[in-house]
Symmetry: C2
């Protein structure tokens, strides 16, 4: 099979596999016009998905929470992801799955229940949320002045595209010469950043917020690594002052793994370099990948 | 010119006019993957735009607030809207304009500043937010249990697609056999519904919320009509109890005009029929349309 058309990425839209450049949705799809969609992103490292089942579990949970029911069941979704990666011929990939509300089956209806939900998926070359050179020196994190949308209004554990508060933080970070942002909620508790969970290290303990945040799969991996490495760790309420007073800070995300910070706001952490606990977790995270931790080999096209 | 291909609607995407069925955006456009877009909707009634300048003012404001800068200036956007309507050959139309973040010019960038913003526009046949028969009997409004996203997190005067809280209210309304929903904020103040502003009539006064709401153009029209008709009216904080205890309630939106309600939650208003003030405002709203109020004739294709 000639897969050269898929070299920049492969997508699945309306039941067909297409080159990424041809993958689109109608401008009238409610996934766009109401941001009525959920998604997930799993990565492929050296030919294997990382924690694919965890990502599929979360994606199924997100779809159920928003009552999105594309025609493909879980096994079919999994097969689509494998095929996207195989068509694109990527050893390392960023693999997205999206369920969109679609458009009403009945013309003129304004009822979500009347819409034809559909699945989109695509595999494209790896994207780091924070560029590698920035990860090396340690990210400079800005604490955004826009409060994170409350959990009661939009459930952050249902992975969604409603990034306006996060984008506001990101723009403000860039205005101030920082790499990216972390948002607090209106009560002053730390939540997350645009595309990542946040962790602090204080007096040898690792902490990550209990609210306003996605239940990140990388977050889960970090907590598992902490346990394996004998580092005390907890999911807990985390006030802004704790973030500002941390010994170390790092971000965690599928698209980048463990990404140490070296500055938080005007505060310089440690030696203005990534801290030792962050680096140890980062090293372990990638070493375990190489050892095949939670790995599902990508099925070749012939299969 | 043969415009038959545009009979279902005409769109403008990436500088080209296309039939609505062909109007799409890439699945990797940040307008979709981060809901990083603003929009506006103006209507055409019997061949004329209603308050086109007000809609363009608001759209320019929304774009500026989110730093979205498509290549088309205001005059070019206006010309695109005229041409979409003329191509579709519609006397009555729903006309949308959208500014989307687009995709990074630099592959792999995660910076909004690096993206190529773009304009989308389309004219399609009229859609009422609340179907006409429901408007006749009076809409049944459910007061949603999901709190509206706070203004500090996402500015509701910047017209956006982040409808998750509104969609939650809508699904809950339908579950309970109601037509649509109104949301309150976490402090118990009334905000708006999915696609409309809300008004109450109490002791001869007309009130609409001062927070959590779009500055609706139809809302503005209603306030002008109240002044012309000698009805006291105000934009004010509006507690949930005031909505539940109102003499009359109506919704106001571009896609439907003034739409009276006859039930709010379990409460039946008046005679379970639209109230007299609501009906007088509705009648005046459409009569003034027929008289050419705030009308901009759609430019024919030859122009």
């Amino acid at each position: 099979m000639d897969t050269s058309a898929f070299a920049d990425g492969a997508a699945y839209v309306k039941g067909r596999f297409v080159p990424i450049a041809e993958a689109s949705i109608p401008v009238t799809d409610w996934g766009f016009t109401r941001s009525d969609a959920v998604y997930d992103v799993v990565h492929v490292f050296r030919g294997g998905f990382f924690r694919l089942d965890d990502h599929l579990d979360r994606f199924m949970h997100s779809m159920q929470a928003r009552r999105l029911r594309p025609p493909e069941d879980r096994a079919a979704i999994e097969a689509v992801l494998h095929r996207c990666v195989a068509l694109a011929g990527l050893d390392d990939a960023y693999v997205a799955m999206v369920a969109s509300r679609g458009r009403p089956r009945v013309a003129g209806s304004r009822r979500p229940e009347d819409c034809e939900n559909h699945l989109i998926a695509y595999a494209i070359p790896w994207i780091d949320v924070i560029p590698k050179p920035v990860q090396e020196r340690g990210a400079h994190l800005w604490i955004g002045s826009t409060p994170r949308v409350p959990d009661a209004s939009v459930d952050p554990t249902v992975k969604n595209y409603q990034w306006s508060d996060l984008t506001s933080g990101l723009l403000e970070a860039h205005d101030n010469g920082f790499d990216t942002a972390v948002l607090c909620d209106a009560e002053g508790f730390v939540t997350e950043g645009p595309g990542f969970n946040i962790f602090v290290v204080k007096d040898g303990r690792v902490l990550t917020p209990d609210r306003g945040s996605l239940h990140g799969i990388t977050r889960k991996s970090v907590l598992e690594l902490c346990e394996q490495m004998g580092i005390p760790a907890a999911v807990a309420p985390l006030r802004r002052e704790v973030l500002e007073d941390a010994d170390e800070v790092f971000a965690a995300t599928t698209a980048g793994g463990v990404m140490p910070a070296s500055r938080v706001g005007r505060r310089i952490l440690g030696n203005d370099r990534p801290g030792p606990v962050s680096l140890a977790l980062k090293e372990a995270y990638w070493r375990r990948h190489a050892e095949g931790w939670h790995r599902t080999p990508v099925r070749p096209l012939e299969a």
